[in-house]
């Protein structure tokens, strides 16, 4: 099996995921208590508007026809109309995507780097005091609700010691000057990125440690040591390469689980991304917006899983040849 047929197979799988999620959203809205027309309109919609929605989505027609209308709308990028923003759902979401990518990207980058370093450090001397400490710290970070850590950081570093802003993307008045704006955004990014990073960190540290310990027990390591490869090269050139592969896979699988951390972190720091938009949509009971965010998040997770699969296929020949 070549790289391309492998990737084609994974792409087909991602498409199935997206279609299933879309179907799930359709079914859930119709299973929910209450009139689907009112759910599709959003809370606070006028009677006329609900009537219009009923006609537009064909809610008085059979379910199969409703499903056809629903999928046709989705394919055209029509996710409905947000009543609280008086704009199409897709536009409201899209203008918030860059901020979320900035925050999540920064946090994941530092979490991967620090996590791998901690994992290596722990695996060098397994079951030592240092290993125990690293394990303890990552377990604790993993158990702290992100929103709590965020609040503590705000209280300590924004309110008590006025080092960082309490939230937002930038201060009013810096937009005109680009270098100033970038520095200001970076300043606002520190605390939310730190919060989110600590949540992701534990996963990477533990995966790297487990992967390294497993790799170090393999025969090729014994062979490398026997032929006189230095301990440093055994660890970094032989074991680490193989240990990082599961880190990539699990990191891919966990993207979906990590979204929750992003939502709560954005909420605490009023970071104007998709996560805080979801929180607003929930509090306004803006059902079309909540549904839209659910679909867009699921699609982006499916796409990033696909990218991880592609990277994996290129890095590890065993995947595409199916030997493993």
């Amino acid at each position: 099996m070549g790289v391309w047929s492998y990737i084609a197979k994974r792409a087909a799988l991602s498409t199935v995921v997206v279609l299933t999620v879309a179907l799930l959203a359709f079914v859930l809205v119709r299973l929910a208590p209450g009139d689907p027309a009112e759910l599709l309109a959003g809370e606070g919609a006028s009677v006329e508007y609900v009537k219009m929605i009923k006609a537009e989505y064909g809610l008085d027609r059979p379910l199969t026809e409703q499903l056809a209308i629903y999928f046709r709308n989705l394919l055209m990028g029509n996710l409905g109309f947000s009543i609280s923003f008086s704009r199409p759902v897709i536009d409201v979401i899209m203008e918030r995507v860059p901020q979320t990518l900035l925050l999540a990207g920064t946090a994941i980058f530092f979490a991967v780097v620090i996590g791998i370093v901690l994992g290596i450090s722990a695996a060098k001397k397994p079951y030592s005091l240092r290993d125990g400490l690293i394990n303890g710290v990552s377990l604790t970070l993993f158990s702290i609700p992100v929103f709590w850590l965020g609040m503590v950081l705000i209280f300590g570093l924004s309110l008590r010691v006025r080092l960082f802003p309490t939230g937002g993307l930038f201060d009013v008045g810096v937009e005109s000057n680009l270098p100033n704006l970038m520095v200001n955004v970076g300043w606002h990014l520190v605390l939310p990125a730190l919060t989110l990073c600590s949540y992701f960190l534990a996963t990477y540290a533990r995966l790297t440690r487990a992967g390294l310990l497993e790799a170090l027990g393999m025969n090729y390591i014994v062979a490398a040591r026997a032929k006189g490869v230095s301990e440093h090269d055994v660890l970094y050139r032989h074991a680490l390469r193989n240990a990082l592969l599961p880190v990539i896979t699990i990191a891919g699988i966990q993207i979906g689980l990590m979204v929750g951390g992003v939502v709560l972190t954005e909420g605490v720091f009023s970071w104007p991304g998709v996560g805080s938009l979801l929180i607003m949509a929930v509090s306004y009971r803006d059902y079309p917006l909540v549904t839209g965010i659910f679909l867009i998040t699921a699609i982006s997770v499916a796409v990033s899983n696909l990218v991880v699969d592609m990277v994996y296929a290129m890095v590890d020949p065993r995947v595409r040849t199916g030997i493993a």
Binding site: V17, F147, F155, G256, L264, S283, Y287, V290, F294
Partner: protein, 280 residues
């Protein structure tokens, strides 16, 4: 039985497990005797002045509505344990019903069940949970059900992997030779041997479910009729600007202690229930 007591002894010899049990003891006690321990009704407002710092009368201070935070934390342990344990039990049942046949039968059945598992795993679960709770209402049984219904894939994968390696063993061949049917083999012979590898993942899942419930009620999506730690922390997130640190720190420590206890339990059990490390 001999094996079970061997495992039990190995587990209790692990200091981390004992430490974790000591951490969980006050939480379980608080949940069981909440009405006796808590001095005030947890959802009652105006039992004291607004934003009073901790004192002998209000051990963890009060929130901006004059509610007693200590009483909220004590009662909050109920929601935490109910959601944590309840949703995990549901997830466990689904995981076993999916993982056992997938691993045992293999072939098409395995392919279909595992593709379904991968599918659920790739849906962003927290957003799905929010979506469902918004549509179906913030009631405690909805929350327990939804968290359980999206949390089974990891457990199902572990069950399947374990069954795959177990089904080739001699004892399975022996009961097959005795004429046991496949459901008999799955639910009696295999299931009892799958436990050691599922139990650590189950305790980790309880921790994750408690965390999820806290997140939900922090967003105002918790059951409005029950006191939850996330809800207390949500109230506190508004009052830190007035300098009320107690609403954040003290309930937060209770939350972290509980989640950490379950995570550390999973961590320790993963080590001590691993048959390769059990020492005579």
């Amino acid at each position: 039985m001999a094996r079970l007591s061997l495992v039990g002894a190995a587990v209790l010899r692990d200091k981390q497990v004992v430490l974790v049990l000591l951490l969980l003891l006050p939480i379980v006690a608080a949940a069981l005797f909440a009405d006796l321990i808590a001095p005030y009704k947890p959802l009652l407002t105006g039992v004291g002045p607004a934003l009073a710092p901790p004192s002998t009368k209000y051990p963890m201070g009060t929130d901006q509505a004059g509610g007693d935070i200590y009483s909220q934390v004590i009662h909050g342990s109920r929601v935490a344990l109910l959601v944590g344990v309840g949703s995990t039990l549901l997830a466990l049942v689904i995981a076993i019903l999916i993982g056992l046949p997938a691993g045992y039968h293999g072939g098409m059945i395995d392919e279909i069940l595992m593709r379904a598992t991968d599918l659920i795993l790739s849906i962003p679960s927290f957003v799905l949970i929010i979506f469902i709770v918004v549509l179906f209402g913030s009631r405690i049984n909805v929350i327990v059900f939804v968290i359980g219904a999206v949390s089974w894939p990891t457990l199902a994968r572990i069950t399947r992997a374990q069954v795959l390696s177990l089904k080739e063993r001699e004892f399975v061949l022996a009961v097959k030779a005795l004429g046991a049917g496949s459901s008999n083999i799955m639910f009696f012979e295999l299931l009892s041997n799958v436990w050691p590898s599922i139990v650590p993942a189950v305790t980790l899942q309880i921790g994750a479910a408690v965390l999820t419930e806290c997140g939900l009620s922090f967003l105002g999506l918790g059951d409005p009729n029950m006191s939850s730690w996330g809800r207390t922390l949500w109230m506190a997130s508004r009052s830190i600007y007035a300098g009320a640190w107690w609403g954040v720190i003290l309930p937060g420590l209770a939350t972290i202690m509980t989640i950490l206890a379950f995570n550390a339990m999973g961590d320790a059990l993963g080590r001590s229930m691993n048959p390769r490390t059990i020492k005579k």
